[in-house]
Symmetry: C2
Amino acid sequence: MSDYSSIEALRSKGLKVTPQRIAVFEAVLKRKNHPTAIEISEYIKKEHPHISVGTVYKVLDLLVEKGLLKKVKSEKEVMRYDAFTSPHHHLYDSESDRIMDFEDPELDRILRDYFSRKNIEGFRIKDISLQIIGEFHQKNNKKISV
Amino acid sequence: MSDYSSIEALRSKGLKVTPQRIAVFEAVLKRKNHPTAIEISEYIKKEHPHISVGTVYKVLDLLVEKGLLKKVKSEKEVMRYDAFTSPHHHLYDSESDRIMDFEDPELDRILRDYFSRKNIEGFRIKDISLQIIGEFHQKNNKKISV
DNA sequence: CTCCTCAAAGATAATCATTCTCCTTTAAGA
DNA sequence: TCTTAAAGGAGAATGATTATCTTTGAGGAG
């Protein structure tokens, strides 16, 4: 509980150290299976029954912003659809919710080579796609394909 | 409108051909920018003001299931959190909502090499992560790292 | 071509994650 | 210790998605 290192981590980012922040941060550190905000909230209720879900969300956002945690999956919770054409990857603008396609047969070949060499035991691959997160630094609306 | 090929596509999958299905499918084909279900719903309202959102969701799910469309981003809409450690990728079980880590320095090196060679104009990369979708064929709960 | 039947669609309520609002509390520097 | 802006609490609001339940219509049988 209240591991010294998590307090240090918060302080190193110039954040106010509160019991809520310590609890949320340590919950994510402790749990290995990519917990959701709700799961984290349930988990810390055992020790701190008074911490509200809203606070958990706020703390998580803050910790992601400061680089102490990482969000897995979408930046936005919305599902998007794509006509099934050739395999391609996606560029995500971290500043907006813009998504663009990226396709390159060479990349696909490289990945195919790698994964046929490197077998993942107990797992059969059906599809691979890259999320390339970054920033567009010019207005660009056409499909990118190299 | 009611492009012959979309009707053919539906029929080839053994699906009942309805105006709603044609409208939704063609909307996704026509729009290039990864529309959300809501956007599709708005879009087809111009031509078919009576099609309900529920129907749009049902049709999209069906088309994804039949392989005519693809979902971009998360299988579930939930956000998950991860302590920020070394860069790693994720294995998604298509049968459940299980997510596991996958890390391999060699893969990271390959990707780094590729992207430093292949510059994407107008885009500055901040992070890259692979979504590897497939099926676990054994009960496996430990972190996979090759 | 008409009729039948079951799958599909419509309308709307319910659910669930997430965000917002607004009031109260508290960390931490003076 | 005191002050104050930042943080937290409670719960309402929002927005996407799903469920329910009734009505409609696609498409095969005759």
